[in-house]
């Protein structure tokens, strides 16, 4: 069993802007171990989200090698990437991105349903995880009936419920006030310790950086500093 959940070797990402090729990532080498609570930080446009998207198999690297939980994602088909996301990776987005027509319970259940988990097991696990994030009382509410902080907790529960190896969180606190953001980070830290799930954030929020155990600073598409606390 490899101990590294993420291995990036010389990852380059180039975008075409009209006739000009823009390098968003300039040869990233990075290793994240299982169970880490790490953040990629840097100013806007530094390449944080691009890097997170490539790790999450949402985007392709132009060059280089990306390995997630021992699987080289460069070689995977679209279906295999969808499977990898479904079973190994959880996502938390800045704008929560819950399915508006589903209740909190159903939003969390959706991932397990896609995995084909039987109904009885789904109900048990969703109830457990909603209790862990303190949302048992709100399980029948739709996203429009919840605050931003509550929605983001549902999004975290959705990411955690299938017990993935890795959770990628893109600016998870950006739309939250400081108190709610802090509570969310503490909750995610607790889930990281209890379930041994690796968390990797992309952020420029000071509070997220303070809570993270490792900070990977990106500037202009390259790693400028990698510090462990």
């Amino acid at each position: 069993m490899p101990n590294n959940i993420i291995e990036l070797k010389n990852v380059i990402k180039t975008y075409a802007q009209g006739k000009i090729a823009v390098k968003a990532l300039r040869g990233i080498d990075l290793t994240i171990e299982k169970g880490e609570f790490a953040a990629i930080c840097g100013p806007s446009g530094s390449g944080k989200t691009t890097l997170l998207n490539i790790i999450g198999c949402l985007d392709d690297a132009t060059e280089g090698e990306v390995t997630v939980d021992g699987m080289n994602t460069n070689d995977l088909s679209k279906t295999a990437r969808a499977n990898l996301r479904l079973h190994k990776i959880g996502f938390v987005f800045q704008a929560y991105n819950l399915v508006p027509v589903l209740t909190a319970f159903e939003n969390v259940e959706l991932v397990l349903s896609l995995q084909g988990v039987p109904r009885a097991q789904r109900v048990k696990r969703v109830n457990e995880i909603l209790a862990e994030v303190g949302l048992s009382e709100l399980s029948s509410r739709r996203p429009s009936e919840m605050s931003g902080g509550q929605q983001q907790r549902v999004a975290v529960a959705r990411a955690v419920v299938a017990k993935p190896a890795l959770i990628l969180a893109d600016e998870p606190t950006a739309n939250l006030d400081s108190v709610t953001g802090k509570a969310l980070l503490e909750m995610m830290h607790r889930l990281n310790k209890e379930h041994q799930i690796t968390f990797l954030f992309s952020t420029h929020d000071q509070m997220v950086m303070e809570h993270s155990e490792r900070l990977i600073h990106i500037v202009d598409g390259g790693i400028a500093k990698d510090e462990r606390k």
């Binding site: 999450g56 969808a82 479904l86 991105n97 589903l102 959706l110």
Partner: protein, 410 residues
């Protein structure tokens, strides 16, 4: 199950658009069901009227008579053919007819007869519409000097029931025969040519006048619309080599048949318009929905939902929309058909006048009724559903192919 729940809620999420789309498709489809059922019923009524007044479901004539209506082209042994018919279809009703042309003259006027029918009074009253259309007097009763004429002819002759009229015809040798007949009854079908140029008298008397004892121009067979083709085929096989031609009503009444085909073609044009409305409505609704939810599909894909599941989700929404439209359409269409099947629609009202319509020589004087069949509901519902799913496919494929990284950014 979660997909169906999502699909239903997605439809409900855009209530106004869903209600407008479902109503537009449902009402169009309802009109289509009514139109198809009314037209099917009307066409069957027209065919049956034409068959009862001018031919039969199947007719047997001497070879070539259908093209060249000469007296010489007659059937000499109708009795033997009757037996063959009955051995093929025991329930079939048969009537012998002898046709010629001539003129009627009274002291006050005259009229040309396009068709003088020598009819078997006892058999004819069981198969023909004429006995039920008598305005005054009665239908033939078997008397040698009886004649039944139309209301328009009676007016031209200034004659009434009991009046004597002189019939002039040419016998088989070409000699002019004149005979005095008494008007037994006057019918009114509402068809101008039938009411003026048709007359009926007893066949045995006409055979005698034409010097054609025992001969007939036509043996008309009455069965039902749907089994008549099979009977015609069977009789054609059994009467091979007997100098006869066996014609299905569509061959015996080609003008009427052509008219009904044109009617069917107009129905297909109407169908095409309705189906275009359905396709455009569904395509518009589903495409709008997909474009509005690009980000949502991106998120679902990021969570690991495969393209096939996204396709399934949107197709489920289209399926449900089609299903609701079909339910609305069936309710609207069947209600309309049911109401019209009780009261009927008068062709005179449809024509915008008091006179009945006449189509291909067939008077349309009776009210028209729709024919409500499960088949017409099933095939049209299936067609609407298939069309719905086909129309929803391009936007569904578009959603299934969305790149999550781009979609989430929207």
């Amino acid at each position: 199950m979660l997909l169906i729940k999502m699909a239903l809620r997605n439809l409900w999420r855009r209530k106004f658009r869903t209600v407008i789309t479902v109503s537009a498709i449902g009402f169009s489809y309802g009109l289509l069901i009514f139109f198809v059922q009314f037209q099917t019923g009307g066409k069957e009524q027209m065919a049956n009227t034409g068959i009862r007044m001018q031919a039969g479901h199947v007719v047997i004539q001497a070879t070539g008579y259908n093209v060249d209506k000469e007296l010489e082209k007659s059937i000499k042994n109708p009795g033997a053919i009757d037996k063959t018919i009955h051995s093929s279809d025991k329930k079939a009703k048969i009537a012998w007819r002898l046709f010629t042309t001539g003129s009627l003259r009274s002291s006050d006027g005259s009229v040309l007869l396009d068709r003088l029918v020598g009819a078997q009074f006892d058999r004819e009253k069981n198969v023909s519409d004429f006995p039920s259309k008598m305005q005054t007097g009665t239908f033939l009763t078997g008397g040698p000097d009886e004649i039944v004429i139309g209301a328009a002819a009676a007016k031209l002759l200034k004659a009434e029931v009991g009046s004597k009229v002189q019939l002039s015809i040419s016998d088989i040798d070409g000699s002019i025969v004149r005979v005095l007949l008494r008007i037994k009854g006057i019918y009114k079908t509402g068809g101008a040519s039938v009411d003026r140029g048709y007359a009926l008298m007893n066949i045995s008397r006409l055979q005698e006048l034409l010097k054609m004892p025992g001969e007939v121009s036509q043996i008309a067979i009455f069965t039902d619309l749907h089994s008549s083709k099979g009977l015609a085929k069977e009789l054609r096989r059994r009467l091979r080599g007997q100098q006869t031609e066996v014609l299905h009503w569509q061959q015996a009444l080609p003008t009427l048949h052509q008219l009904l085909l044109v009617d069917t073609a107009s129905m297909y044009i109407f169908l095409f318009i309705i189906f275009f409305i359905v396709a455009a409505g569904i395509l518009n609704s589903v495409l709008m929905s997909v474009l509005e939810r690009t980000r949502e599909f991106g998120v679902l894909k990021a969570l690991g939902m495969r393209p096939g599941k996204i396709l399934q989700l949107i197709m489920s929404e289209a399926f449900l929309m089609g299903l609701f439209a079909i339910i609305v359409g069936l309710a609207v269409g069947l209600t309309m058909s049911y109401i019209v099947s009780i009261y009927g629609l008068d062709p005179a009202d449809l024509a915008g006048g008091e006179q009945g319509m006449e189509a291909a020589g067939v008077p349309l004087t009776e009210k028209l009724y729709p024919k409500i069949t499960a088949f017409s509901c099933v095939w049209s519902s299936l067609f609407v559903m298939i069309l719905t799913l086909i129309s929803a496919l391009p936007p569904s494929l578009r959603a299934a192919k969305i790149l999550p990284v781009k979609a989430i950014r929207e």
